[in-house]
């Protein structure tokens, strides 16, 4: 009986000494891994939406540029008709005036199409960044639920959105467009986010982490995307363009 007592005493002492050590070690490791994993996830969410937002704008620009042959054809036809109206014989002049009215109507229609493309691309691109805001809020909410804390850690998302960077190459009713010089650097979408993690974590963990380890009280992150010229076409890429 005494022998048994002596053994359990030794095991108890060993356990009492080692258990906190193991616990601290495991909690510390788990905390670092959890911390990095969540930060990584939030970074990826940011990049995913900012890339999608850029892609939508690039696709819009491409559709706009695809209308250029038609726009320049109409401009050339109108110039030729103007020349006929100015210097042509009266019968040709009458025909030219009638034809010009049709060309102007076609240009007005094309202009509406061009504006529609630009506005739709801008709207969808902005909407994608609003989705990013919602996704960040949802993630912060999930973290609150995970730690069973009240949802005080609302993320702050600052969006720097740039509209389509196209310029008019040949001005007219329906102009011919081109990409602006330094397109890569001009059309950069930039998002900065911050989540007050100290408000999401439970109080006991916050006290341990911030009184002992002095971790940052907020999670910060930023992501940006820019148009990048590929082999065949433009695509969106991470970063703020060529440095």
């Amino acid at each position: 009986m005494n022998l048994v007592n002596s053994q359990s005493g030794f095991i108890t002492i060993a356990f009492v000494v080692m258990a906190p050590l193991f616990l601290v070690l495991l909690l510390g490791t788990a905390w670092i891994l959890w911390f990095l994993n969540q930060k990584h996830k939030l970074d990826n969410i940011c990049y995913q939406h900012v890339l999608d937002s850029q892609t939508l704008l690039i696709e819009g620009n491409q559709r706009l540029l695809n209308l250029n042959p038609r726009a320049s054809l109409l401009i050339m036809e109108k110039r030729a008709l103007n020349h006929t109206i100015q210097f042509g014989p009266p019968p040709a002049k009458a025909v030219a005036i009638a034809r010009k009215a049709i060309v102007v109507a076609q240009q007005t229609q094309l202009k509406a199409q061009q504006q529609g493309i630009l506005k739709l691309a801008a709207f969808r691109s902005r909407a994608e960044l609003q989705k990013l805001k919602l996704a960040m809020q949802s993630e912060a909410h999930k973290l609150s639920r995970f730690w069973r804390t009240q949802d005080h850690g609302r993320p702050t998302v600052t969006i720097h959105w740039k509209p389509s960077q196209t310029r008019v190459r040949i001005p007219d009713i329906a102009p011919v467009y081109k990409l602006s010089p330094q397109y890569e650097r001009q059309q950069v979408h930039f998002v900065r986010w911050r989540i007050p993690i100290h408000r999401i974590l439970p109080r006991w963990l916050s006290q341990i982490v911030w009184s002992e380890a002095r971790f940052e009280k907020n999670w910060y992150g930023q992501c940006e995307s820019h148009p990048h010229q590929g082999v065949q076409k433009w695509h969106s890429a991470i970063g703020a363009g060529k440095h």
Binding site: N2, L3, S6, Q7, G9, F10, A14, M18, L21, F22, L25, L26, T29, I32, L33, L36, H40, K41, N44, I45, Y47, Q48, H49, L51, D52, T55, E224, H228, G230, H235, S236, A237, I238, G239, A240, G241, K242, H243
Partner: protein, 120 residues
Amino acid sequence: MKNQNGQALLETVFALPTILVLVGIVLIGACRFTTHYLMDHWVYQSSLCMAKEVSSERCLRQMDRKVQMMPFVRYSLNRVVVRKNRVLIELTYSSPVQLPLKIIEHLRLPITSEQMRRSQ
């Protein structure tokens, strides 16, 4: 009574090394796991930095600053490739409790939003 004390001492003499070995294994395991995870994470961050068209020197300096936080870790860069269509970093690291281990991070460019979605 004397006999029992002797028994306990004998047990301690045998049990202590076993416990120390077990504790050592767990400590070394946790240390190796955390080191590998952190190194892998920092190498990935560095390759992402290069994918952003930031100069490789700057990205590697940032990574070096982070690795310096673990003074027991030594590393050497084997290969850094930055091309238009890919970024590759290959390094070997070691620590007093870790034999040299290789980490290869290969990013295909352009990084798509789909890739980001999958790695969440």
